[in-house]
């Protein structure tokens, strides 16, 4: 089984590819491998691949692993958009050691995805909904989180979210030299052919 307990975010992709390859080679793949792969798909919000992986895992392995079923329950919540359920499903279970880091990664990813979505999709959201969707357990926690995302508190209702101008994250043009090269290509293409 691949050791993923020590890996950081970036390495999950590498582990994912290793596990996918291992599955195709169909040799000594075990429940733990499926558990890791399924959880990584969910952390990437890749519900399609997660769904098909679940469908193809042999029934005997599904029956033998409680963790696998628990992970898939999270997947189901994710697909159905039942965001509130996801956090308690993660928190209420003690995961075996090979899953702990992936699970906390999944929780973190899910939370930041939701914060981004709330910023994008709401101008006002109630405190309780925001708490549920981000998996916060106390009001202090959600208020801190909301402030860090730039939401304004509107007590007692919840948050007011002003629409920021979305920054183009990669707003850097390539160098002049490169630009010139590309333009030369276009012109030579047009001149030679038309």
């Amino acid at each position: 089984m691949a050791d993923v307990s020590m890996t950081c975010d970036l390495k999950f992709d590498v582990v994912m590819e290793e596990l996918e390859q291992k599955e195709l080679e169909t040799k000594d793949i075990e429940a733990a491998d499926y558990e890791n792969l399924l959880a990584i798909y969910l952390a990437n919000n890749d519900t399609f691949n997660a769904k098909f992986l679940w469908k193809r895992i042999p029934q005997t392995i599904k029956d033998s692993s409680d963790s696998l079923k628990a992970i898939w329950d999270i997947g189901k919540s994710l697909i159905q958009g039942d965001y509130a359920a996801i956090y308690s499903q993660i928190d209420s279970k003690t995961w075996p050691s090979h899953l702990t880091s992936i699970m906390s990664h999944l929780r973190k990813e899910q939370q930041s995805r939701i914060i981004h979505l709330i910023s994008k999709g709401y101008t006002a959201i109630s405190l309780s909904d925001a708490m549920q969707m981000t998996g916060c357990t106390t009001e202090e926690e959600i208020i801190k989180l909301g402030e860090s995302a730039g939401w304004k508190i509107d007590a007692p209702f919840g948050f007011i979210i002003s629409k920021k101008v979305l920054h183009d994250e990669e707003n850097v043009f390539s160098s002049n030299q490169e630009q010139l090269e590309k333009l030369t290509d276009y012109v030579s293409f047009l001149e030679n052919h038309y």
Binding site: F48, F52, L53, G121, Y122, A124, I125, S126, D154, F189
Partner: protein, 412 residues
């Protein structure tokens, strides 16, 4: 070992050594009868051959072995084929594509029958790379890979091949090449539909449908049904076939598509009850065609299309009103749909929970960012490459003797 078999083995060795593959293939094809009759001794000959040096000899023997009854349960044979795929000489097998393809087709069939689809994926990936000249060349075993991926419910390995635009075909002399061409596009369409990449799925079904033909193939019939459904999901309308579709398809399509046509008519009313009724009415057909999943997606897409329509009429709308207008059960469900659509970039809107309203916004994209610019650059690069390709193909046709002969004979 009988003398004729000995002769076969030594001829293979000699011809392989001289590199005369044409003659060698002729010999191999002629010896198939002989080999099949001496089944018991084939393994002995195999022992004397080397994977790399005598690939064509081994290929012929494997083809003969695979043709026997009960070959699918011959685990040793499956291993032989797998080792052969990994170790054979790519140069040699390229000269005998018909035998090679037929061996791979048999292998695929065995795994399908044995329900071990996932086992073959890795071997078929190798098998394809062995014979294609470049990435964008289609082989007739691409379809086999897609079939195994679908059966194994494991799509990622197929995507590596499907995502590449095809511009040439590795032809073999086999009689069933059209079948594998159509199957590739049919299976590809199914894989993209499973991953909800509707655009690409529609394109794949369209290629299958618009393949020039004098007779109608069952693959086309099934592709047409799925083509209608995907078009409904993606564009919300019944698709009109492109002008270059063979006339036989246009003529016969009416015969088998009536339930689908009715579904499209119901869809056009924008009334989800109407659509549900049609689904109910034809559920037997849809189930028999294995299209129920896609049919249900149509209903989901109708809700979304209806919400998108609202954005054209209203600037703001309460969630309750919205649920009424698009026939959703509650404001909560409407909120769920809107949020999902915002996340997927299908509408531009924001929800205000305080007064229960949705505000529809304009597309925030002003088309003045570096990202748009880069996309434009990429598209231009693709266009230039496409132009280059067309030019090359055009040139090849212009100097093709058959073509020249034809235009000389029929000057008009």
């Amino acid at each position: 070992m009988s003398t004729s078999l000995d002769q076969f083995a030594s001829s293979v060795r000699n011809l392989s050594a001289t590199g005369n593959f044409e003659k060698l293939n002729e010999l191999c094809n002629k010896s198939k009868d002989l080999l099949s009759k001496n089944y018991g001794q084939l393994d002995d000959i195999l022992q004397t051959f080397d994977l790399q040096e005598h690939s064509l000899g081994i290929l012929t023997i494997l083809v003969c072995k695979a043709a026997l009854d009960g070959a699918k349960d011959d685990e040793a044979l499956l291993h032989l084929i797998e080792d052969f795929i990994a170790g054979c000489s790519s140069e040699q097998v390229k000269s005998a594509l018909d035998n090679y393809n037929s061996l791979i087709h048999s292998y695929t069939n065995f795994l399908v029958l044995k329900k071990q689809a996932i086992r073959g994926i890795i071997h078929l990936q190798k098998a394809i790379t062995k014979i294609r000249l470049h990435q964008s060349q289609l082989t007739f075993i691409h379809a086999d890979l897609c079939q195994l991926c679908i059966l194994a419910k494991c799509f990622k390995p197929a995507l590596k091949f499907l995502d590449v635009e095809i511009n040439s075909i590795a032809k073999d002399a086999g009689p069933s090449e059209v079948k594998y061409f159509l199957l590739y596009y049919y299976y590809g369409g199914m894989i993209y539909a499973s991953l909800k990449n509707w655009d690409r799925s529609l394109y794949f079904f369209e290629v299958a449908l618009t393949t020039p033909s004098m007779a109608i193939s069952m693959i086309m019939v099934e592709a047409y049904k799925k083509y209608i459904l995907v078009s409904l999901i993606l564009d919300g309308k019944f698709p009109s076939l492109p002008k270059y579709t063979s006339s036989i398809i246009t003529r016969f399509s009416k015969n088998f598509s009536s339930p689908y046509k009715n579904l499209a008519t119901a869809y056009a009313t924008h009334d989800s009850n109407e659509v549900s009724n049609v689904i109910q009415k034809y559920s037997a057909t849809f189930n028999a065609d294995n299209n129920m999943g896609l049919v249900k997606q149509c209903l989901v897409s109708l809700h979304k299309k209806n919400i998108q329509k609202l954005t054209k009429t209203f600037l703001t709308l309460s969630l309750n009103d919205m649920a009424d207008r698009v026939q959703l059960s509650s404001a909560k469900e409407a909120e769920f749909y809107v949020l999902k659509m915002i996340e997927d970039g299908e509408i531009f809107a924001s929800i205000n929970q305080k007064d229960g309203m949705v505000v529809f916004l304009d597309n925030p994209e002003k088309f003045n960012s570096a990202k748009v610019f880069r996309k434009l650059e990429d598209e231009m690069k693709t266009c230039i490459a496409l132009d280059e390709n067309l030019r090359k193909m055009n040139h090849e046709i212009a100097i093709n003797p058959k073509y020249l002969h034809k235009i000389r004979v029929e000057p008009e």
